[in-house]
């Protein structure tokens, strides 16, 4: 697949690297015991350490370290047994210490690999440079008072993992797939809740363009994007801007940009003169981290089945295509739902494709209409499994199944009960169908003659009539067979 972009003068290649900031799923902060609950009253989750009171010292939260190591394992990355926390020094009102504790020269996780899958069944590896732990800053609220800025320190000190990719990404779509994949891995690992709206996952995007075969161009960094839609928009805008500048003979200045979500444009965040010198140095309040092989091994044993493994399992066990399997596994809750549907009956294994369709088209459209997540689905996987089994076993037709599904959605009832109570079972009794067929033939003598004289298309009409008489319950295959047989007998 070619990602080249046609400019006025020649083709351009986009080069993208991403820094993803993922909030570590943990009840308490990276260096203090304050809670991390989202949406609490401003400054209600601030310890003396978070507020940087004199003489207060950070203490590493071991759980956050474990979460970072697990994430490293999930990204197929090297876990660094020795890592160091550094101070990144700068002044801002929502940075109480006057520095952020981060990891600079010695991150906890080194090189890794993440695979993204395309619609055409192909896939691509994106290399990870590193993952490091750092503290989040607080929040400056500029809109509460016309002349004052308020500061909320609830987020101050919350643990973030910064996941840095190599510049291996070549388009906005690839960037989207990459973030989705990272998000999915983190959610499988339960190391980040993946909630982009609440800011649990944000990205800085580094973009440059070049003529194919050239060295990397000068890059610009777009800061703090919190939805895949905006990331794609920002990339597309910025690529276009850079190509225009270059084709007009200009040069790209390395810069930090902000993306305005209402205008869809990027603009410089600060000028060069304001460029920060962060004066990184090892935090003397914290000892370097020493992680043993046995600690790493212990965590390895706790790693659940990850999307790539699950995808392979789906391909091998259920015969799904690479793309179907990757779409299904990308969202853990959907994939878990699927697994639980299949569990209902061994025989469903052979009908996995039907199960996928019922989840991704029928169930999803009902959920979407009602603005529900799959985790809130009124239809349980068990009940959906029973429904699919009924279809597969010819107990009901696909058409009736849709009505049953709606009933299940509204009443949360067992589909077998609905079928029973409403008498929706397919008619498979041959003599009963023969009777219906006979009635239809008797009532439509002219049509039968036309059919016999060669108008084969009329078969559909007879099927429709017979189906109507059976209130949709006649087994279509049996009905078809009997009709054809009876009509040919007339010869």
């Amino acid at each position: 697949m070619s990602n080249l972009i046609k400019g006025e003068k020649h083709d351009w290649e986009t080069v993208i690297g991403l820094e993803i900031h993922a909030q570590v799923k943990s009840n308490s902060k990276l260096f203090s015991s304050s809670s991390t609950t989202f949406g609490s009253k401003p400054n209600s989750q601030v310890s003396l350490v978070d507020a940087a009171m004199p003489g207060m010292l950070p203490v590493i939260n071991k759980y956050c370290i474990e979460q970072a190591i697990k994430t490293g394992i999930g990204l197929n990355a090297k876990i660094n047994k020795y890592s160091v926390f550094d101070r990144k020094n700068y002044f801002y009102a929502d940075l109480p210490q006057g520095y952020q504790i981060s990891q600079y020269k010695h991150p906890i996780v080194g090189e890794g690999i993440v695979t993204i899958d395309f619609k055409d069944g192909s896939s691509k590896d994106i290399r990870i440079v590193r993952l490091h732990l750092e503290q989040d800053a607080g929040k400056s609220l500029h809109d509460q008072n016309p002349t004052k800025t308020y500061v909320d320190l609830n987020r101050s000190g919350v643990a973030l993992m910064e996941i840095v990719s190599e510049p291996d990404i070549r388009s906005a779509d690839e960037a989207g797939l990459y973030i989705n994949k990272i998000r999915s891995i983190l959610m499988y690992l339960d190391t980040c809740d993946g909630n982009m709206q609440e800011g649990s996952l944000r990205a800085d995007v580094n973009i440059s363009v070049r003529k194919p075969g050239d060295d990397y161009g000068t890059r610009c960094e777009i800061k703090n994007l919190n939805s895949i839609k905006f990331i794609k928009q920002a990339i597309n805008y910025e690529v276009k801007r850079q190509i225009e500048v270059l084709e007009e003979g200009g040069v790209i200045e390395q810069n930090t940009l902000l993306f305005n979500t209402s205008t869809g444009k990027t603009r410089p965040m600060r000028s060069k003169e304001e460029a920060h010198d962060y004066r990184y140095f090892p935090d003397p309040d914290l000892l370097p981290l020493d992680i043993s092989q046995s600690e790493i091994d212990n965590l390895k044993n706790k790693i659940p089945e990850l999307p790539d493994d699950r995808k392979k399992r789906y391909i091998n066990e259920y015969n799904l295509s690479n793309y179907d399997a990757s779409v299904l596994t990308s969202d853990k809750s959907v994939s878990d739902f699927f697994d639980n549907v299949i569990k209902v009956d061994v025989s469903l294994k052979q009908s996995s494709k039907i199960v996928v369709n019922w989840i991704t088209s029928e169930l999803f459209s009902l959920l979407n209409e009602n603005d529900l997540e799959i985790s809130d689905s009124p239809i349980s996987p068990e009940n959906l499994g029973k429904l699919v089994r009924s279809i597969k076993d010819d107990v009901i037709s696909g058409k009736i199944a849709k009505d049953v599904l709606l009933e299940m959605f509204n009443t949360m009832k067992d589909p077998d009960k609905i079928i029973e109570e409403k008498g929706l079972k397919q008619v498979t009794d041959i003599s009963q169908i023969e009777n219906i067929v006979q009635e239809v033939i008797n009532e439509n003598k002219k049509m039968v003659e036309q059919y016999l004289s060669g108008k084969d298309k009329l078969l559909g009409f007879f099927v429709g009539q017979a189906m109507k008489k059976s209130q949709g319950k006649a087994n279509p295959k049996i009905l078809n067979d009997i009709l054809k047989e009876r009509l040919s007998k007339k010869n």
Partner: protein, 474 residues
């Protein structure tokens, strides 16, 4: 009325010869009489009376029950404001009690007040305080002398008999040098022995709490009370704290004393060398063997210290920005303006100087040449000590290159001032314990201190040697 030691006062209290209230009143009187020395930043009689009521109810088993203690105003205390001698924390009232002071409270001591210091512990004369100079109680007539620094207020409080013990912090000599200037005992234990939790930070990898007292036994009693592991300080050591006071032993038979040749420097008075000689002889008399040793990287210690300490300080003091607590400049136009004015007006000259030095040595392009190199040299200095300690038990040196100097003498010459730390800084960089005890006088009659340096976590060894020297000296 003078109480000569903690055990003396404690026995009077245990035998009902004196009450906690009487002790408090005695010291309140003493402090009021010495107000002109400007030893205390915070002294409030009511606060002392409040404590008396609590302490009276404590069991006499509490080791420090009724013992008057002065607290360096760098330790955060719940019942008294904490300023770090800076305008930027002028009205700061902590809601928490530092680890060290909490331990002293738990043992029943009376806090008589918060003592003066160099602003954020940056100085060697207690003359950079926003609250003015402290005057050395040993000053004569019209020649006011510096008490040393940065813990000058605490050393002076003990010397002026305004308490029986005082807390200090030592980053490059801030306990040992003022102890020497004021003629009292001062110990800086091994880095990590006392928790730094609740002490306003100057240079985190060097800061260490310690104590001042009138004699070695009292220092050993106080140190064993304030030492101990604290989970809230990641650099606090989890080691057993022996009962230093019970183990005190002046028999030095078989001990080997290292005498480092690098501590003989130009411009040191004969009096100091004489005191050093006397101390060597005294140790020999107690059974110790003398070994001449070399600590080859000593000459780099001072420049190394004056890179690492300011670097850490520049970052540690970034939190004083006027946003959350403390002083904030008024009528500022923007956030940057607020920072600039708050910090310009809130910090004194010496603090600003060190923040600038620290910012410089950490900046892009200079980091490797200064900070990184200093860290490497620091390792060499530490390994010098480790090497010599493989064949000696402790080291004996002078504490400071001079006796107490006149108040304003080195005010305008920071380099001269920094040279005061020349004998104390190496131990700080190596993280080893050091104690200074008074040992002789100069021709003006001013006290001179002698310093004993020990192996990591081997405070007992230097307490014992100091105890032996003290006995001989008496």
């Amino acid at each position: 009325m003078e109480f000569k030691s903690i055990s003396h006062l404690k026995s009077l209290l245990d035998n009902n010869k004196i009450s906690v209230k009487e002790i408090a009143e005695t010291y309140i009187t003493k402090i009021n009489e010495k107000k002109d020395l400007n030893i205390f930043i915070y002294f409030n009689e009511d606060k002392i009376h409040d404590q008396v009521k609590e302490i009276e109810n404590l069991s006499n088993d509490k080791i420090l029950k009724g013992i008057p203690i002065a607290v360096k105003d760098l330790f955060c205390t719940k019942n008294m404001p904490t300023t770090a001698a800076s305008k930027i924390l002028e009205n700061f009232k902590p809601t928490y009690e530092s680890f060290v002071t909490q331990k002293l409270i738990d043992q029943g001591s009376i806090f008589v007040g918060k003592t003066n210091l160099d602003e954020f512990a940056m100085g060697s004369a207690t003359n950079t305080s926003f609250f003015g100079n402290t005057i050395n109680p040993l000053s004569k007539n019209n020649n006011p002398l510096a008490p040393g620094g940065s813990s000058g207020g605490s050393a002076a409080a003990v010397a002026a008999d305004l308490c029986l013990g005082a807390t200090g912090t030592d980053t490059g000599g801030s306990i040992r040098q003022p102890a020497s200037f004021c003629g009292v005992v001062g110990i800086k234990p091994t880095y990590g022995l006392c928790s730094r939790w609740g002490i306003a930070a100057f240079a985190s990898s060097l800061d260490q709490a310690g104590v001042f007292s009138k004699n070695v036994t009292d220092a050993s009693i106080l140190l064993e009370e304030i030492a101990g592991h604290d989970q809230r300080d990641s650099t606090s050591s989890n080691v057993n704290i022996p009962s230093f006071s019970k183990n005190l032993n002046s028999d030095l038979n078989g001990k080997i004393v290292g005498i480092p040749k690098e501590y003989t420097i130009d411009g040191i008075s004969d009096e100091i060398n004489q005191v050093w000689e006397d101390a060597i002889k005294s140790l020999e008399k107690k059974g110790a063997k003398i070994k001449h040793i070399t600590l080859p990287h000593t000459k780099y210690a001072l420049p190394t210290y004056y890179i690492i300490a300011p670097a850490e300080a520049s970052s540690n003091l970034a939190r004083y920005d006027g946003v959350k607590y403390g002083f904030r400049a008024q009528d500022t136009k923007s956030l940057d303006d607020m920072y600039e004015l708050t910090r310009s007006e809130g910090f004194g000259k010496e603090v600003k100087r060190r923040i600038l030095i620290g910012t410089y040595v950490l900046s892009a392009g200079y980091y490797d040449a200064y900070y990184l190199k200093a860290q490497k040299v620091r390792k060499l200095i530490a390994s010098d000590f480790i090497e010599v300690f493989s064949d000696c038990d402790f080291i004996l040196t002078p504490t400071a290159p001079s006796a107490a100097f006149p108040l304003n003498e080195k005010q305008d010459d920071p380099i001269k001032m920094y040279l005061n730390d020349v004998f104390t800084v190496p131990a700080s960089l190596a993280g080893i314990p050091g104690i200074s005890i008074p040992y002789g006088h100069d021709k003006e009659g001013l006290p001179l201190g002698i310093q004993l340096l020990g192996k990591h976590y081997n405070e007992q060894e230097i307490f014992n040697a100091a105890f032996a020297l003290e006995k001989d000296y008496e």
